[in-house]
């Protein structure tokens, strides 16, 4: 079995790239969807979104994120990689708050804090896996 590559090809770094790509993808989809015209009878298919350059960038990002994800799965156990990848659900509201000036409620801030707590609890087993890679 081959060892995990280091530096930028390190699976943990690639997992960070995957999370960033998905976050950027979701944010760009939101921008693209809100800027494209709605045509009667077609509004629920989402196909009108293809008229926006932001949507095409988002499609490129989702392909990149999938390639990163299958690379991550090659080296990191699914029971660790999948919960970590779910951090994207916290990063998307944060990026909407930063770049689209959307409001974040107190309950949502609590949720973000709990996710960060979960990540810190997982940090030790993750460090143990890192030694084995």
């Amino acid at each position: 079995m081959d060892r995990a590559p280091q530096r930028f090809a390190n699976p943990w770094i690639v997992l960070v790239f995957e999370i960033v790509f998905v976050t950027a993808h979701e944010t760009l989809v939101k921008i693209g969807a809100s800027r494209t015209a709605r045509i009667a009878g077609w509004e629920w298919t989402g196909l009108t979104g293809l008229g926006s350059v932001w949507i095409w960038c988002a499609i490129g990002l989702v392909i990149l994120s999938f390639l990163c994800w299958i690379y991550v799965l090659r080296y990191i156990p699914l029971s660790i990689a999948f919960p970590l990848s779910q951090v994207v659900h916290v990063l998307v509201p944060l990026s909407c708050w930063m770049f689209l000036s959307e409001h974040i409620s107190a309950r949502r801030w609590c949720g973000i804090a709990i996710v960060i707590l979960g990540l810190s609890v997982m940090a030790k087993p993750v460090a143990k896996i890192e030694e084995q890679l």
């Binding site: 090659r74 699914l78 919960p83 779910q86 916290v90 707590l117």
Partner: protein, 117 residues
């Protein structure tokens, strides 16, 4: 329980199952690729199975989103992190420590709270 409630519950159960099965098959394919190479039949078989299962999950999710609000569906989706972690220990024989269980439970709970508000 009426037919109106059984159908969405069944679709949701199928969507969650397809997500879990897809991720497990994809992980197994990448494990195989480390030993036997990516182009080999066992790797490709599991990879195609995983991608197909995730594609089914994607379209079932669109179907659910056409009938329900995102805020109703997202919290339930957040709980898949725990289900996948448990399924990986059962089917892929991955080791799950108490810290990993607590960590993934907290991440899931946080996601549920984020999507509820």
């Amino acid at each position: 329980m009426t037919g109106q409630t059984i159908v969405p519950i069944a679709v949701f159960a199928m969507q969650a199952t397809a997500t879990v099965v897809g991720q497990l098959l994809l992980k197994h394919a990448m494990e195989c690729s480390r030993v036997k190479g990516f182009g080999r039949p066992p790797t490709l078989k599991f990879f195609i199975g995983g991608v197909s299962s995730l594609t089914i999950a994607f379209f079932l999710m669109i179907g659910l989103l056409q009938h329900f609000d995102l805020s109703f569906f997202y919290p339930i989706q957040g709980s898949t992190a725990v289900i996948i972690a448990i399924a990986a220990t059962i089917f892929l024989r991955e080791k799950l420590s108490p810290q990993l269980i607590i960590g993934s439970l907290l991440i899931s709970a946080g996601i549920v709270l984020v999507s509820l508000s």
